[in-house]
């Protein structure tokens, strides 16, 4: 198991519970670390990342995967923007597989799978879907549909067999967490809503816990920076952006 890196409580800037169904966003300052914990086992958190200073620059799924020769995200992988920068990197992770190739739940798909689940009937337990949540949060920054590109699905595993056939692989575990360091001033948008391939027929998203800590930009020997030649170059370009 990776070691727990959050013993220094004085560095904690914020803790917040993300209820099942809830969305969240914040600009993380370069070096800050956000830990997302699957509190009960079963949280599925869609995530988007933008350069907060110039949000036309955004997380780019293909560039992230092909540069690191991966089809999923895990510890010491970096999330690259379309401009060759590191928006965030996974400094710690007890999960081992975060999906980024299968998108997110829309209003139509939610209705077809779970039923209406209206606010009128359920009040704040109504069936929120990922697409609408993300669009609401993006709207707060003047962003919209056109800025909605492939997201990361924290805690979700969808694996391909040798022929490319995909399967949702259950891996929920209470207490599992992932830590994302902002390597730029990074707008992060989250939605804690069911992944569309989750086989459960009932709408019952589980809570996640957020903890934001202060931190420093990646140093020369940082594990994410030195993970691959490609990540070294992307961190170098990111440093140059801030020079």
């Amino acid at each position: 198991m990776p070691k727990d890196t959050t013993k220094d409580a004085s560095a904690v800037l914020l803790t917040e519970t993300l209820r099942g169904g809830q969305m969240w966003s914040r600009v993380l300052r370069r070096g800050q670390v956000l830990r997302v914990t699957d509190t009960e086992g079963g949280a599925q958190v869609a995530a988007l990342f933008f350069n907060a200073e110039r949000p036309l620059e955004r997380y780019n799924m293909p560039d992230t995967l092909k540069a690191q020769h991966i089809a999923r995200l895990a510890r010491h992988d970096s999330l690259f923007s379309d401009m060759g920068h590191v928006l965030a990197s996974i400094v710690d992770d007890t999960v081992g597989w975060h999906d980024t190739i299968t998108g997110h739940l829309t209003a139509d798909a939610s209705r077809a799978k779970y039923g209406e689940g209206s606010y009128q009937k359920l009040r704040n337990d109504f069936f929120r879907n990922t697409r609408d949540n993300l669009l609401i949060e993006l709207g707060k920054y003047g962003l919209g549909k056109r800025d909605l590109h492939a997201n990361v699905n924290l805690f979700v595993k969808v694996a391909a067999d040798a022929g490319g056939a995909l399967a949702f692989v259950p891996q929920a575990r209470a207490g599992a967490y992932v830590e994302l360091r902002a390597d730029m001033n990074t707008l992060i948008v989250l939605s804690n809503t069911p992944h569309p391939l989750d086989p459960s027929p009932s709408y019952a998203p589980k809570a996640a816990e957020l903890e934001l800590r202060s931190g420093a930009p990646a140093g020369p020997g940082d594990a994410c920076r030195v993970a691959t030649d490609e990540s070294r170059r992307a961190f170098a370009l990111t440093d140059a952006y801030f020079a």
Partner: protein
């Protein structure tokens, strides 16, 4: 991988155009038209985006397409879905057998990350997309350059989550044929990448053929 040949006669096509390597191209197809892209010399990646012709914010979605067909690769029978859940096109014939849609397009900056900081000068697909958008699709912008299809490109993913760019499985004359399920705008960069085997280190022309069906 579902190999299927087409009976369509090129002599009866309503449009027939060769796209050189390193060129951008765009054209709108009306519902029911059939598009064939021919890999004339083999192993040529054709970076392709599709948009609802009436609303470019409704565009091809690689992740929705992959998830709904529960398969990573595109071939005969694949339905190309939009972000709004619309059926943009369906692949109705394919003599290559497998096309990528997670590898994205090359860009000056991603070439720097992937190969070397001094590769920034090299021509790349995103530059082609941007030039076509700036000169011919002025209602669009970089916000609309989403994750594309790479016809004829081979990007295998392993069950343990690894991904590689491999030599192509295409060959001279292989093609893919799609029927437009609605009016769609096609945006193509015929890939100029020289740093990996996606074009066999030798980018070549492709043929863009349309039938009115």
């Amino acid at each position: 991988m579902t190999l299927k040949e087409s009976k369509r006669d090129i002599a009866k096509a309503s449009y027939d155009h060769v796209i050189e390597s390193g060129r951008a191209f765009s054209r709108t197809l009306t519902k029911g038209q059939v598009l064939r892209i021919v890999d004339l010399e083999g192993n040529q990646a054709v970076d392709t985006l599709f948009y609802n012709a009436k609303d470019a914010s409704d565009r091809y979605s690689a992740v929705d397409t992959i998830r709904e067909q529960k398969s990573l690769y595109l071939t005969t029978g694949s339905v190309l879905l939009s972000t709004e859940g619309n059926r943009l096109l369906t692949i109705i014939a394919d003599t290559c057998g497998r096309h990528d849609t997670v590898g994205g397009a090359c860009a000056a900056e991603s070439n720097q990350v992937r190969y070397a900081l001094d590769k920034k000068y090299m021509h790349n697909c995103r530059d082609s997309f941007l030039l076509e958008i700036q000169t011919r699709l002025s209602h669009m912008s970089i916000r609309d350059i989403t994750h594309n299809i790479n016809f004829f490109m081979n990007v295998p993913v392993t069950p343990d989550g690894k991904l590689t760019f491999e030599d192509g499985i295409s060959a001279p004359g292989r093609y893919v044929e799609l029927i437009a399920e609605m009016d769609v705008t096609v945006l193509i960069s015929n890939c100029p990448q020289l740093n990996n085997p996606c074009n066999g280190y030798n980018p070549t022309p492709v043929r863009f053929v349309v039938w009115d069906n």
